[in-house]
C-alpha cells in the first residue's frame, strides 16, 4: 500500500468511530429520558394508589371491617414512608397484597372510588411493565462491550428494575398467566 494512504485510512476510521460514539450517546440519552419518564409515571401511579387506599381506610371503615381497615391504613402509610427511605418494593407489595385481599363488592363504597382504585391498579401494572422495559433496553445497551470500553455514561448509575407482584395476569384476562407458565 502506498504510504500516503495511511493517514486517510486512519482519518476514515476515526470519523466512523466518532459517528458511532455520537449515535450511541444519542441512544443512551434517549433511553435515560425514557427511563425517567417511565419512572415518573410509575411513581405517580403508586402514590395515587396509596392515596386511594388511605381514603378507603379513612372514610369507609364499615365496608372493610376493623382488621382489614387497620392493615390497609398501615400498608398505605408504609408505602408512603418507603418513598423516601426503605425498601419500596417490599412496602408496595404489602399494600398491593392488602388491596387484593379486599372483598370484591365493598358495600357502601361509592362506585367512583372503586373504579378509580381498579383503574389505578391496572395503571400501576402497566406503568411498571413499561418502566422495566425501559430499564431492560438501557441495561442491554450499556452492558455491551463496546459501550463499556468507550466508557459511555459510565458515571451514571444503572437503572434498577422495579419488581412487585401486581398480577398483571388479571389484566390479560388469564392470557398472561398462561404465558408465564408457557415461557
Amino acid at each position: 500500500m502506498i504510504p500516503e494512504a495511511w493517514p486517510w485510512l486512519a482519518a476514515g476510521v476515526l470519523l466512523l468511530l466518532v459517528i458511532w460514539l455520537g449515535w450511541t450517546l444519542v441512544r443512551l440519552r434517549r433511553l435515560a429520558a425514557r427511563v425517567d419518564r417511565a419512572w415518573a409515571t410509575l411513581d405517580a401511579q403508586l402514590q395515587r394508589r396509596a392515596g386511594l387506599a388511605e381514603e378507603l381506610a379513612r372514610q369507609h371503615p364499615a365496608a372493610l371491617g376493623s382488621g382489614a381497615r387497620a392493615r390497609l391504613a398501615a400498608g398505605a402509610a408504609g408505602a408512603r414512608a418507603a418513598r423516601d427511605a426503605g425498601d419500596r418494593e417490599l412496602a408496595e407489595n404489602a399494600l398491593g397484597h392488602e388491596l387484593r385481599e379486599l372483598p370484591p363488592d365493598l358495600p357502601g363504597v361509592p362506585a367512583a372510588l372503586r373504579t378509580d382504585l381498579a383503574g389505578t391498579q391496572t395503571r400501576v401494572a402497566l406503568a411498571r411493565r413499561f418502566y422495566n422495559d425501559a430499564v431492560r433496553d438501557t441495561r442491554e445497551l450499556r452492558g455491551r462491550r463496546s459501550c463499556r470500553w468507550a466508557g459511555l455514561h459510565r458515571r451514571r448509575p444503572l437503572p434498577r428494575y422495579f419488581d412487585i407482584d401486581d398480577r398483571l395476569g388479571d389484566l390479560g384476562a388469564g392470557v398472561d398467566v398462561a404465558g408465564r407458565r408457557a415461557s
Binding site: W23, G174, V175
Partner: protein
Amino acid sequence: MRIGLVCPYRWDVPGGVQYHVRDLAGTLRGMGHHVEVLTPAQHEESVTDPHLTFAGRTVPVPYNGSMASAQFGPVSAARVRRWLREGRFDVVHVHEPSSPSVSLLVCMIARGPIVATFHTATTRSKVLAVLGPMVRPWMERIAGRIAVSDFARRVQVEHLGGDAVIIPNGVHVGFFAAGPTLAGRPRGDGPPTIGFVGRFDEPRKGLPVLLQAMRSVVRAHPDARLLIAGRGDADQLWSMVGDDLRPHVTLLGEVSEADKAALLRSVDVYCAPNLLGESFGVILIEAMAAGAPVVASDLDAFVRVLDDGAAGVVVRRDDPVALGRALSDLLADPGRRADLAARGSRVAARYDWQVIARRILAVYETVLPPGGGVVTAGPEHDFPGVPPTGTAAGRPRIRRPRR
C-alpha cells in the same frame, strides 16, 4: 385525546392487522376521541375516508412467510412527517413496527409517546432474527409495547429483546350476538347443524378431520348437517366429502361478514378442528359471541380462548373419533349446549372492542407525559435517507443467517 394509528399493510387488501386498526379506530372514535389513520394502499383511490391518510404504495417483500409491505425513501418520509405535524397527536400507535414498513418509519421520525402493537406470532423467524438487532435503536423509542397474544409476546421476548403487555384482538360482540339467522335455519329448530368457517382446502384448518368425524355424527344423528363457509376449491371439497356425506354438507362459499355472523347465529355447534398454526382464534370468539357452543381442537391458543376448556369442548387435535364423539354428545344434549353458550357469551364479552379499546386507552394514558405535549416530527436531517443497514453499535450482535 388525539390519536394517530399507523397500519403497515395495504388498506385495500384484507388482513387481520388492517381489520384490527379499522375496528380500533372506529371504537375509539365512538368514545369521542379524534383518530387518524396512516396507511399504505394498493390504489390511492381506495383511501377515501377523510380520517385516512395515504402513505404511498409499497414494495412487497417476503417477510415471515407472507408478503410484508416495505416502504422507505424520502417521499414516504415526507408524507409521514406531514401527517405527524398536521395531526398534532397526543400519542401515536404503530402496528407491527419491526418490519421495514411505514410503522418503522414513524418510529424513526416521531418525537413523543409511541405505543406499538405486535401481531406476528411466528416463533422461529430468520428475518426477525436478522432484523431485530438492526431496528433496535428505533424500537427503543417505543414507550409502551402491546402484544395481541402470548405468542406475539414471545416473539418480542426472543427476537427483539423486549417485553409487552398482552391485550388481545377485539371482536364486535354486538354485531355477532344479535341479528338475523340464515334464511330458514333458526337455531334449535329443525335438523341439528354444525358450522365450519375457514379456507377449507388448507389441510391445517382441519376440515378432513371434521368430515371424517361427521360420518360417525351422521350415524347418531341421521339428519345432522354441516355448513361450510369460506374460500377454496369447491370441486376438491366435494371429492373429499364423498357420496355418503354429500346430502349432509352444505357449501356456502365465501361469505360477507354479515352472512358469517348469521351463519354463526344459526348453527347448533361451531367446530374448529384446526391442526396447527392458529395464534389467536378470533373465529372462536365470534362464534361464542353469536351464542354457538364451540368444539375445538386442543391448540394452545384455542384452549386459552376457551378458558381452559370451561367455555367450550376441547378435543385432541387430528383425532376424528374423539371429535365425532364430542360432536354427537353435544348435539344430543341441549342442556349442555345452553350452558356452554352462556359461558361462551361471558367469555366473548371480555373481548368486546369496547372493553379492549378501554384497555388500550389505559396504555395511552400511561405513556403520556405528565405535563402533556404532542407528538412531532424530528428534524429533517435526522432521518436516514436509505433503509437502515444496521448500526455500528448493533454490529457485534448481528449473526448472519447460515444457508
